[in-house]
């Protein structure tokens, strides 16, 4: 069977898809990939549906042996990747053959890299999804010795639709997070809400698939009656204030309810930017109205839908390029981030 045998793997590597909607009333959050845009990019590169499962690699990849002819794609936080010692482009799709060895190293920027297989990773679904839900005790992180089987893929032998690349939206270095008021925002004094939007934050040391700590200089952000409010539903993107007024942005694998007040909710389209911020990355919150938020999200959703049309062959003759500067100059040997002139990623 085509697939990948895990020879060695980082500590936070797990199979992820879009998660499990519909189990909130059972206490299980949707979960799924921390960066769902990376799932969609991988699907676009392999010309397959975005609901298929991929391997999410937190901070560090692993070493994999190819068990049968296979198409793969690499997306998300750029990581060094080699196939039998030859460098592979990131944000691209490739054909691999039985017996070849794929090595994926540490993230150069960002946190979560993704390894996609043509046909998706076909582990057994549990409660309607293949996504490992670490907080919920569903499945477990990948370990050496695991086999990641590929689902049926017409292109596995021919390499149909490989050698494509895509320029990702740069979400790997922090930045601005658009946030809307939510049902508990009014528990916070107006002064605190305003100060929250003016404060320069950086990503703290506590971060995982459930949530990410934000640290700042100066006073914390507390609500009135903070320790006695009723536990209430949590949505991914909610910014929760712990007892000492320190914000955590909650991600898709968050708990489903909680008693700490939420100052607002980061737009779904900016959650990948939270998950992908490396420790110390600079972040800031920008309050938008509900209407503005809906428009921003709708524009983003349209962009995600257009991803397949934005994939292009990796090696191009410059003479055929209408607008040279709009392309990412990937040589096919060395991977690059979004900025082709960001020499930090290149050798």
């Amino acid at each position: 069977m085509s697939g990948l045998r895990v020879l060695q793997v980082g500590p936070v590597v797990s199979v992820q898809d879009m998660g499990r909607p519909g189990l909130l009333e059972r206490g299980i959050s949707q979960g799924g990939a921390a960066d769902v845009l990376a799932l969609a990019e991988g699907a676009a590169l392999l010309r397959q549906p975005p609901g298929l499962a991929a391997l999410e690699m937190g901070g560090m990849g692993g070493t994999f042996e190819v068990t049968g002819a296979l198409r793969i794609a690499l997306t998300g936080a750029p990581m060094g990747a080699t196939l039998d010692g030859v460098a592979l482009a990131w944000n691209a799709s490739h054909q691999v053959a039985a017996g070849q060895k794929l090595v994926i190293g540490a993230a150069r920027r960002g946190v979560y890299g993704y390894l996609h297989l043509g046909g998706g990773i076909a582990t057994d679904p549990l409660l309607g999804s293949r996504a490992v839900h670490l907080m919920g005790g569903i499945g477990r992180a990948a370990q050496a010795g695991d086999l990641l089987p590929a689902g049926p893929d017409a292109g596995s032998e021919t390499g149909r639709e490989t050698g494509l690349g895509i320029t990702p939206e740069d979400r790997f270095s922090g930045g601005v997070l658009r946030i809307v008021e939510s049902f508990q925002s009014s528990l916070f004094p107006d002064e605190v809400l305003a100060r929250f939007g003016e404060t320069a934050f950086r990503r703290g040391g506590r971060a995982n698939r459930m949530g990410v700590e934000m640290i700042s200089d100066g006073a914390g952000f507390s609500a009135a009656g903070q320790l006695n409010i009723l536990s209430e539903v949590i949505a991914p993107g909610d910014v929760q204030m712990t007892g000492d007024g320190k914000p955590f942005v909650l991600l898709r694998e968050c708990q489903t309810t909680g008693g700490y007040p939420r100052i607002g909710t980061v737009l779904p389209c900016d959650l990948a930017r939270v998950a992908q911020a490396g420790q110390g990355a600079a972040l800031r919150f920008d309050w938008v109205t509900l209407q503005q938020g809906l428009e921003i999200q709708a524009r983003y959703d349209a962009q995600v839908t257009s991803l397949p049309s934005r994939c292009a062959p990796l090696v191009r003759d410059p003479a055929e390029m209408a607008d040279l500067l709009s392309y990412q100059l990937i040589s096919g040997v060395v991977s690059a981030g979004a900025d082709p002139f960001d020499t930090g990623d290149n050798k």
């Binding site: 909607p21 519909g22 189990l23 909130l24 009333e25 059972r26 206490g27 299980i28 549990l126 409660l127 907080m135 919920g136 005790g137 569903i138 809307v180 939510s182 049902f183 009014s186 107006d190 320790l227 006695n228 009723l230 536990s231 209430e232 539903v233 949505a235 993107g237 909610d238 712990t242 007892g243 000492d244 708990q255 489903t256 309810t257 909680g258 008693g259 700490y260 909710t265 737009l267 779904p268 509900l290 938020g293 809906l294 999200q297 709708a298 959703d301």
Partner: protein
């Protein structure tokens, strides 16, 4: 805008871009819990297009929806109309509820914060065990983690605030207490509540056909047993730790 004024219940508010919350009260009560469970059941029956899922919290019903196919205004109108349909505070509890008697160790090294909680409630440890061990509580809602119940309502003497600092880790089956409620933990986790008791209940069994032990509306008593008894029961019955379950006649 008057944003900090008192709310009039029931109230409909937004949760981020893709959620709406119908809240029946800002404190726990029997009528608001009935309203919550009854309203969610009715909403599920309506099967509104564009609604992705619904859930309850202690006194609210949450609706997650796709604003690209169901607008905020449309959903709000549907919720308002359903709210007007009946007196939800008098709704009946769900059918098929069960009663669980759960062997529980209070205090000892297995539940080290009993003394602290008893102090805060102004009782001796023995009085606290008598009080907590005799309370018949109901699953008010499931949340936080898979199959994890919020249980209440305990007497006013147990209206203790959460701790300012987190207890770093309580084990699976831990019974913790704050704000007139218990929570029974599914999996090891940090908590702001006090760890007063320990049970052998395993609440989430993903490998089983029915993975979820408890349902909203089930009732439980956490009956005091010795440390040695619990260890023996847990050995003999790894799923339920010796808990005995029966149907509640409706």
């Amino acid at each position: 805008m008057g944003r900090h004024e008192q709310l009039k219940f029931p109230v409909i508010r937004t949760v981020g871009l893709q959620g709406m919350l119908v809240t029946f009260a800002d404190a726990l009560s029997e009528p608001s819990n009935r309203a919550t469970l009854g309203f969610q059941a009715a909403l599920a029956q309506l099967a509104i297009g564009g609604v992705i899922e619904t859930s309850t919290s202690l006194a609210s019903v949450f609706v997650r929806f796709d604003p690209s196919s169901l607008s905020h205004d449309q959903l709000r109108a549907q919720l308002e109309s359903l709210l007007a349909d009946q007196d939800w505070y008098g709704a009946s509890l769900p059918e098929g509820r069960r009663f669980w008697r759960v062997p529980t160790v209070y205090g000892t090294d297995l539940a080290p914060q009993l003394g602290e909680a008893a102090d805060a409630a102004g009782m001796s440890e023995a009085q606290a065990i008598d009080s907590l061990g005799a309370a018949r509580v109901r699953v008010l809602t499931i949340g936080f983690a898979a199959s994890q119940p919020y249980l209440g309502t305990l007497g006013a003497e147990w209206d203790l605030p959460r701790q300012t600092a987190l207890t770093p880790r309580v084990p699976s089956g831990a019974l913790v207490q704050a704000i007139r409620q218990f929570v029974l933990f599914t999996a090891p986790a940090p908590t702001g509540w006090r760890h007063v008791g320990q049970t052998g209940m395993r609440l989430f069994r993903p490998e089983r056909e029915d993975p979820f032990a408890l349902r909203a509306g089930d009732e439980l008593i956490f009956e005091p047993v010795t440390r040695a008894d619990l260890l023996r029961l847990r050995e003999a019955d790894p799923d339920n730790g010796g808990a005995i379950v029966s149907e509640i006649a409706s």
